[in-house]
Amino acid sequence: MATTQRDPRTAVAWEGVSKTYPNEFAAVRDVSLEAREGEVLALLGTSGSGKTTLLKMVNRLEPETSGRVVVDGKPTTDWRPIALRRSMGYVIQEGGLMPHMTILDNVALAARIQGVDRAPARDLALEKLALVGLDPVRFGRHFPHGLSGGQRQRVGVARALAASDKLILMDEPFGALDPITRREVQDEFLRLQRELGTTVILVTHDLREACRLGDRLALLHEGRLLQTGHPTDFLNDPVDDHVARFFRDAGAVEIGREAPR
């Protein structure tokens, strides 16, 4: 895997990466994949497929045991981990908000830890909150537990954007929301992503979400990458039975049509 000749439009590249734990469990096996600038790449798979491990390799929460991950043209092993993490946003289920900080402080945190003064960090937070559709005046002084799930998720996105609007990693970000709220937040997120041209790597087990948000899908199973491509490629041209079955079982009949209910 010596693709050192980098596509200028590649934001993140996994080059033959594997992750084997000390107990010899292989969570990821020899995966090569790339996320291009400005696209939403959905890592799709059942639990245990290795999709989250693959995502966490990007910010070195789960370092690979072989192969390498290249971010912004530089292998992650050449980055200082702190600097690497500060260069991208990260959103998890429920947003991963700090329960002891106000909404405003939560969003400002990304800037504050990098030494930005209180006032400019606050302005940045106000701007990002407005961007995700939360009224900073109304919600800024609230604590996370006083917000609804959808609102918390928006705050999580705002915080990620405050860290970087170039690259955001998302791990099942909308999983805890009810279907209607989820749809709403997804739509808003997509609009925002298009507007800002943010590169997004999204982990999900929900095929419908992957198809709705993802420009490209990467289907993983037991640590291996089965297929990448546009959603329609999977329907029309599955590489093997497993891919076909996954799509059939997940009720993918509606996918091609971007199924509203």
Binding site: I82, R85, Y90, I92, G96, L97, M98, P99, A163
Partner: protein
């Protein structure tokens, strides 16, 4: 009721000072324990191996009986009595709940929050400061609160090694069988514990991130309460350290427990203060011969009063002798040679162990000597103090000398409680001091030691030779009372305190005044 008010009025100011000193000791100990415990907890929370070691050590330290720990620390601190060893003991006991709760608090943090903090690019230090510690704070504070409440109680025991605080009231109350003094020590201690518990509990709730936002008023109230407690403790610190000024040199005079020792201690201290420019720090009611003597030898005390017989058998570990002058000579020579301690002239009375019974029982049984007791020993319920039970010139030798065969094993209890227990009929026989005022107070009779088993003990001031060299004027002052107090006088003075409940410092002062050794006016109380 009036009597109570009068008593309270007399004690109000020293009591307030003792309460402040008590709180200050507890707070310093907790500060120390937190400074050690929280970092240890933080490190241990990350390393399971270290956690086992840290928790193991803290657990073991927790199980050491408090008096044993104090005794041990006294050796570690080379005989320095008072605050340093007390502080160390309290901090050691406070360690376990603080380490435990720090680990617990850090472990309880939501995985997602922890991961989000890392993914934001926080350095480990930033994560600890801005995320982990604030989130663990309520649980850590909970540990501090538990430790504080326990320390308030524990700190009373520290009076045994001369630490200031409420414990001195309790110890004095126990040794004088004075319930008022015991209450005076324990009621404020209980109130302190409640106040600490309530204010820290409120603070704990205030640090909870999911608290009710309307509770701001209570948060302010709790912070205010804690601030007042800290201020009060600060005053206690100032009393001890700040106000002693003017650069006058201070001598530390100690005393063993018991009325007689406290009285003699006050007399020596008064004489020094009256007749030399020196100040005196009084550390009375210390827990036992070896506490006092080790402190004296290593400089924690400058002087205290000891019995020659005790010095011979307990300190010098020599066999029992019965000739008073021979004992005094031997003790004087040995202590000077071995420990650089001077044994001054005796006060003039002899105090010896006395076997006591209730008068009505003596009359009924018609026994007057210990020999006469031998035939009826199997019916007796006897009680002895711990020192008597274990000293070669105490219980072991006594049974041998008189062939006493107690069918009921003697109860070992605090010697100050023996008089009461005997007087109230829960014991039939007890060993006391022949000069004790409570012998008359409880209507007890001393059995004659017809085989001259108990060695006579003369009371003498023991002083560090170094102190005497530095202050040559001291020796004549300390010997002003030599030969001035006979057994009858001593018993009378003891009785003033034990039966008539007068303050020992007043009794001592009035006595000096009557001898013309002190010019200060007679006290009005009593």
């Amino acid at each position: 009721m009036n009597e109570w008010l009068e008593f309270l009025k007399g004690e109000a100011r020293p009591l307030l000072g003792a309460t402040a000193a008590h709180l200050e000791l507890v707070m310093e100990a907790l500060l120390l324990a937190s400074l050690v415990g929280v970092p240890v907890g933080i490190v241990a929370a990350r390393r399971p191996k270290l956690e086992r070691v840290a928790m193991g050590i803290a657990n073991i330290l927790q199980t050491i009986p408090s008096l044993a720990l104090l005794g041990f620390l006294l050796i570690v601190f080379q005989g320095r009595i008072g605050k340093p060893p007390a502080l160390a003991a309290l901090a050691i006991y406070a360690l376990l709940p603080i380490i435990k709760n720090t680990i617990l608090g850090l472990r309880s943090i939501d995985r997602g929050v922890y991961e989000a903090a890392t993914a934001l690019g926080m350095t480990p230090w930033q994560r600890l400061r801005h995320v982990e510690l604030p989130l663990a704070a309520p649980i850590i504070l909970g540990g501090v609160r538990v430790a504080t409440v326990a320390s308030v109680g524990m700190a009373t025991i520290a009076a045994a090694i001369g630490a200031r605080g409420l414990g001195s009231y309790i110890f004095r109350g126990v040794s004088l069988a004075d319930t008022r003094l015991i209450l005076l020590g324990s009621v404020p201690a209980a109130l302190l514990a409640l106040a600490c518990d309530a204010s820290l509990g409120e603070l704990e709730r205030a640090t909870n991130p999911e608290r009710d936002r309307r509770s701001r008023l209570r948060t302010i109230a709790a912070s205010l309460a804690v601030a007042i407690l800290v201020g009060f403790a600060g005053w206690g610190w100032w009393l001890e350290n700040g106000s002693s000024g003017e650069g006058r040199e201070t001598l530390t005079i100690g005393s063993k427990d018991g009325t007689e020792m406290i009285l003699l201690g006050h007399m020596l201290a008064d004489l020094i203060e009256e007749r030399t420019p020196l100040r005196v720090d009084r550390r009375f009611n210390l827990g036992g011969t070896l506490v006092c003597f080790n402190a004296l030898r290593q400089g924690g005390l400058d002087a205290y009063v000891e019995y020659t017989g005790t010095a011979l058998t307990v300190i010098l570990d020599e066999p029992v002798q019965t000739d008073p002058d021979a004992v005094l000579g031997l003790v004087r020579q040995e202590l000077a040679a071995r420990d650089d301690v001077a044994c001054l002239k005796p006060f003039g009375f002899e105090n010896t162990f006395a076997l006591l019974m209730r008068k009505e029982m003596v009359d009924q049984w018609d026994v007057h000597t210990i020999s006469q007791l031998a035939s009826r020993a199997d019916e007796l319920r006897a009680g002895f103090g711990p020192e008597f039970m274990n000293r070669p010139d105490g219980y072991p030798g006594l049974t041998e000398a008189y062939g006493l065969d107690f069918a009921i094993p003697p109860r070992e209890m605090d010697r100050n409680l023996l008089y009461q227990a005997l007087g109230r009929g829960s014991l039939d026989l007890a060993a006391g001091d022949s000069t004790d005022g409570r012998i008359a107070a409880f209507d007890l009779v001393q059995l004659e030691d017809d085989r001259r088993y108990f060695p006579p003990y003369q009371a003498v001031p023991l002083v560090r030779v170094e102190t005497l060299k530095k202050h040559p004027e001291l020796r004549p002052v300390l010997e002003l009372l030599a030969g001035k107090i006979d057994a009858a006088t001593m018993r009378k003075l003891n009785r003033e305190v034990d039966e008539y409940k007068r303050r020992p410092e007043d009794v001592a002062r009035d006595f000096l005044r009557r001898l013309g050794l002190r010019t200060a006016p007679l006290s009005r109380s009593g």
